[in-house]
Symmetry: D2
Subunit: 437 residues, 4 copies
């Protein structure tokens, strides 16, 4: 975790105190159910929750000190709780194994992380939608291979982003479901010393589903899917980030990351406004998606479990979620405050002297009865003049002045072929598709 | 694609002829709809389908020869079709762009590949289920960290695999849905020269959904998710493969890949039966999951599209699906014919002289009123004797002979603690959870 | 392997015949040495080489047919050779294990592949050097963050590429050395049935070093390093490819991939020349570097060996080397024939009305005795006018006309600050550093 | 960075104070050289170093507070230094760019990290060597595919590890050299405002080489190679870790991670000693090698630079080096204190009743004049009896008692084939090869 790419709410999930609090809840819920079953005295669960109701401070330092001696984190924790609660607490954890606590806790953390990320996505979607509506009909040149192709609108670019992050949201909901499971199944997952109904009870209380079959641990294909999904979402962030970086290039300058008027250095070199937020996002995407690989390698644990997944998860659990949370929020800010320059978009659109409309003219000539070869030759000879003038000449004017062309098409007909509205007649349809929900 | 890791049905999807056949269908469906709309003569679509009804051979060589001249695959194809069908065919592709064909075709291929993979998963699940039922109550030692922990059954191991591949199936269904889209939206996705209803029509005919917003290309986050999902599934294959490899180790030998009696070399060194199929699967899993990275890097195409994704997809499209198909089928064969040795499982279970039951005895002593420290000391002194005998002594017998223990627990009580059934009382519950569907 | 990204010389290395020929050489060299040692009759080696001297056809089909029956590739091969050579051939392979042949062969293939790649790099370096010299002093705007920064020369960009691929070459030489080893050490690497001097002899004949200690297999950290190195080289290809793609953007257009005058479609839309070769290279880089991951996972084989590395290597051995060979050659072609537009570079340099020189003016004003704040204010007020004019006004002219500036700096002094030569005074030094070798 | 996987010396390299101290040194060295050149007053460098000689505290908090206001880390630092040193300090950084400091500093950090890692490798090599010598002739069964093959010695396993980490060291030295460069070349690498001799001087003082050509930044192929190399080294760690995990399995138990006698839980379940250190290392290897991917993606920065590499490096710079340092030290500890059980190794060797020697007997029978088929049949019928007895019968005894075998081989001859020394005759040769240096 890199502090400058971390926001407090997400970071809090991964702090020791949060972990211990989840541990407590799992143990206390289990104790209540075991009390019901008669496995342990009913007083045990009550004592635990009564103490918890006093909103006690979880003394991380004290627990860590115990761990240093006992060399076992869960035992250290249980010991400390027992000291606080009294003798009834000694019935905690009966028949359970450390992984019951650790794995269920990891899943609670991932679910909470997913909830924050889902809220982040909602914020991002809202920002994209607002800007998309604002620029629904702002003309902009569409580019394939970085080369001018045909007109689009800036709103369409944002509609694509909206659709993409809508998919991201759907995927994240599925990924959240993947890890929203609870296992309280004992040393090798057989429930030898703990009744399955305890698992059912704890799962319900913690907002999780039961893990149908566990093997001391919750199977790691679930987590592999979770982190792979974060990697795909990060890649979508990169896509938008790269788009903004391109748009902000000196020669393009159709949009810029927000730059506060007073920001130092902006005036003596007013052109030097660097898209550092989106470059930063590009790098973060690289990191987040790289975590998919060790997450997948974690799946093939040996037999009923080995602990090789654990060191991996100590990195990627916090790092992937914290960084993605930060990245989504940063992207939301970028979109929300993006400086958009419609005039420059129009200027770029016009920069090729109308060459982007040459295909329509070609088609019109063919439809007017000229052979394809002739049509091509007519367009070509005018297009080349425009090209050689570096866009200073206008294809439309040259065509109007070309006698052979004029014989086939009227000036109005030619002008019509240069009309941007032609390209935008289905923008509304696309917006309906994308923003219907 | 490595021929020895390829099966014909999946390979066929990726062959040029299959691709051209899909191209034709897309173009012909589009022509029919355009005919309805009046964009092109109605005769066009009819002529195309009439010709298709003659079940013509797609002459890959002829088309490739054209491409070599024209330097454009789609134009070469259209040309060839036009030669076969006649003048009406020249109305094909009107207002469309190459990517409309290429991207929709890729998605058709991926959907078909997913359908094969789903069938593979069904076969695998059936094989696992059959063997799980067969070994539902076959005792086996559960191992954590490779060390004997507590008893499980071999059926439980398979139940876990069943649950894991059931999740794999669910994920693959979602991944299939991700790529089951069709785009017929023109040069930059604006439908400038093709009506959106054509896309709707073609999508329906090809069994796809419309792509709500495309940008010449279908967005690659869909494909990233698809290939990431295959990577996770491959990792689950690795998990089972590694389990089999472990079970087949000389010292463990609880199961073996099927080995035909006459297989050369099996008799002079009868112990030397190598788990080469599952080792092979392990390597295939590494390759398949590695494809997730370039698939994710493919997402951030520039502006409305660049073609950098294409070279990646020429590798991973066929390689990931063909290899995963092969791997799933191979794993199914391994499971289906796996030689399982219950006697050896029992022998391994017993190998530690009953030490795996020490926890239960410890608990029983505590419940019989002894302090935890005393209980521990009593178990310990007998456990150490067993350990030092390398499992030749029996913990149960030693405990029965230990006067202090005997004072607390009767022989029957002690024996009961060594009863395997205690561990298997919830196997049925777990099987109900896993195999309910 | 994707045929369209494959060149014959590299592909040939990976064809069955090439593999069998290497097998033969290893076996025959080993037989000669064993003959010297008296382990086998001296006639054996002689018979093998005599037959080989007749330049016999290696009948891949016949060997494969044997393998289909025998289920063992090396035995099938030995069998076939024995049939051709006669009874003496039965002494081949004495005391050796299949991996002795297979692993040494893989390394011979990788070494040969590396030799082709090294030649590719030499060609690439030559092309880059030629173009760098040609454009040593061609002014071009340097960009950080995609934004105009200060002037560079196009030659400097190429010098950087030259230095980078010089490093690539050095790395590849080291990577080649990593895999240039030979193991003839028997079933578990103990030389139990084969004398170490055989390994020494064969290594020498095959142009390899002996593997100091093998464990049936040659250790895979060597191959991991090899493939990781290819991944880094591919990433450098991507860097140059991305640079070309940027330079070819419609708004930048400082360079273009070569486009033959007659290439279809170039004239009606003369601006639509897509950098598809470099986009293609970008995708290939993604694939090639992805192979580093499974190569690294291959290192941790179990005990003296398992065969999980093998399926991985069947993919990445050919695919990484064939694709990198293709990519290097393609990049060489791109550089060699790159259309470079110095006028456009100059135009882009001038496009900001001289704002890129504002820093030098600022410094000059300070050195002329004005306070930093005053200097800043003076530059700023003129810079903003240029900016607002979108580069139509000239910063130099405005500064000359600004009375306060003129009071501090003469017109000549101001003009000197806009002199490009100032920036290029150390180009020669850099070229000396880079091209010294 | 995960604190529990971090050691102080390596962590210190990445702390803000260390970074600021390197910044100071670079700036102060540059100021001295610029003083010599007359670019700045000679007093500047002197003032800086005089202050430094007072061993001043670097007030990280104060600098960070300035950065919060100035939004620029290097300017904040320069400001703070200027406050401490006085007016002469204002000549720092003349003609330089932030990246000159930041990139050179990163490389100093990586070089220092590499030096620690090299020392770690030396410690590891020493530990491996000591244990290899100790167990040079400790017999152990060699396993291929996890199945007993032929005898090796435990020392040979360690010799392989020694050879592998010797290669790791050589690679790390090369990787260190890759990043041991210094760039002081200004805004776009042209030395426009800073003389190249400053770079030469600073490089020399900082123990670095000059970067022949930089583009504001030091090219990232160097760092990609560095991190890829760490990934390969981590994979070698995994290999040894997996070997130990295998050896510690209950059924194998040829070696164990050190377990202090008093460690809790060891006695009631004396068999439950888990190889958690090596499992932990396995996971760390997954993480460390995953960093190679984003490092490679960092190479293709846009034009003269973009800052997308930076966020990646904030993660992988510290995380890869700190975790690898920890992992190497942990592995050294594991090897150093590894509990090795030669008796168990012998017992496992014998476990198959001598089947591992069947190949030698087969060969001996052939050499004694029997046909290969007959020899095979004779060995087979005895081998099968051993196999069916689960190793309770002895192949040697059965062969001696087999009349047909006895007709071909004397009892002494048969016994000789079961002599382990036969397998170890070249151990000395291998050790000479490996430990020669």
């Amino acid at each position: 975790m890199v502090p400058r790419y971390a926001r407090p709410a997400m970071t809090a999930i991964w702090e020791p105190e949060a972990r211990y609090r989840i541990w407590f809840e799992i143990e206390a819920h289990a104790a209540v159910k075991m009390g019901e079953l008669g496995t342990v005295p009913e007083a045990a669960g009550k004592a635990l929750w009564d103490w918890w109701a006093t909103n006690p401070k979880v003394d991380v330092e004290a627990i860590d000190a115990k761990e240093a001696v006992l060399k076992h984190d869960v035992i250290a924790f249980l010991d400390w709780v027992a000291e606080q609660v009294g003798p009834e607490a000694r019935f905690m954890h009966q028949g359970m194994t450390s992984s019951d606590i650790l794995d269920t806790t990891l899943n609670v953390q991932l679910v909470r992380a997913a909830d924050i990320l889902l809220a982040d996505l909602d914020d991002l979607l809202a920002a994209i939608k607002r800007r998309a509506m604002e620029h629904k009909y702002t003309p902009s040149i569409g580019r394939s291979h970085g080369i001018h192709a045909e007109p689009v609108t800036f709103g369409l670019k944002l509609a694509e982003a909206y659709a993409e992050f809508s998919r991201a949201k759907k995927r994240l909901i599925a990924a959240r479901e993947e890890v929203a499971t609870c296992a309280i199944s004992g040393a090798v997952g057989t429930f030898a010393n703990v009744d399955p109904s305890v698992e059912v009870y704890v799962a319900d209380k913690m907002g999780l589903e039961i893990e149908p079959v566990s093997t001391q641990v919750i199977p790691r294909d679930r987590h592999a899917m979770f982190f792979a999904t974060l990697g795909v979402i990060a890649s979508s962030i990169e896509r938008v980030a790269v788009e903004v970086r391109h748009l902000q290039r000196t020669e393009v300058l159709e949009a810029e990351e927000y730059f506060s008027p007073g920001q130092k250095g902006s005036s003596a070199m007013p052109h030097k406004r660097n898209p550092i937020l989106t470059e930063n996002l590009t790098g973060q995407a690289r990191i987040i998606r790289s975590y998919a690989m060790p997450a997948m390698e974690n799946v093939a644990l040996w037999h009923e479990r080995d602990i090789s997944h654990s060191s991996v998860e100590r990195f990627i659990g916090p790092d992937a979620t914290i960084t993605l949370d930060f990245a989504l929020a940063r992207l939301t800010g970028v979109i929300d405050k993006l400086l958009v320059y419609p005039e420059r978009m129009q200027k770029n659109l016009d920069r090729m002297g109308g060459l982007v409309h040459s295909q329509r003219v070609l088609l019109a000539l063919t439809q007017a009865g000229l052979s394809r070869d002739t049509s091509y030759r007519l367009v070509q000879r005018n297009a080349m003049k425009v090209w050689e003038s570096d866009g200073q000449l206008s294809l439309m004017e040259l065509l109007k002045a070309d006698e052979e062309v004029a014989a086939a098409l009227t000036a109005e007909q030619i002008e019509e072929k240069f009309n941007l509205d032609y390209h935008f007649k289905h923008v509304d349809t696309i917006f309906d598709r994308v923003f219907a929900d």
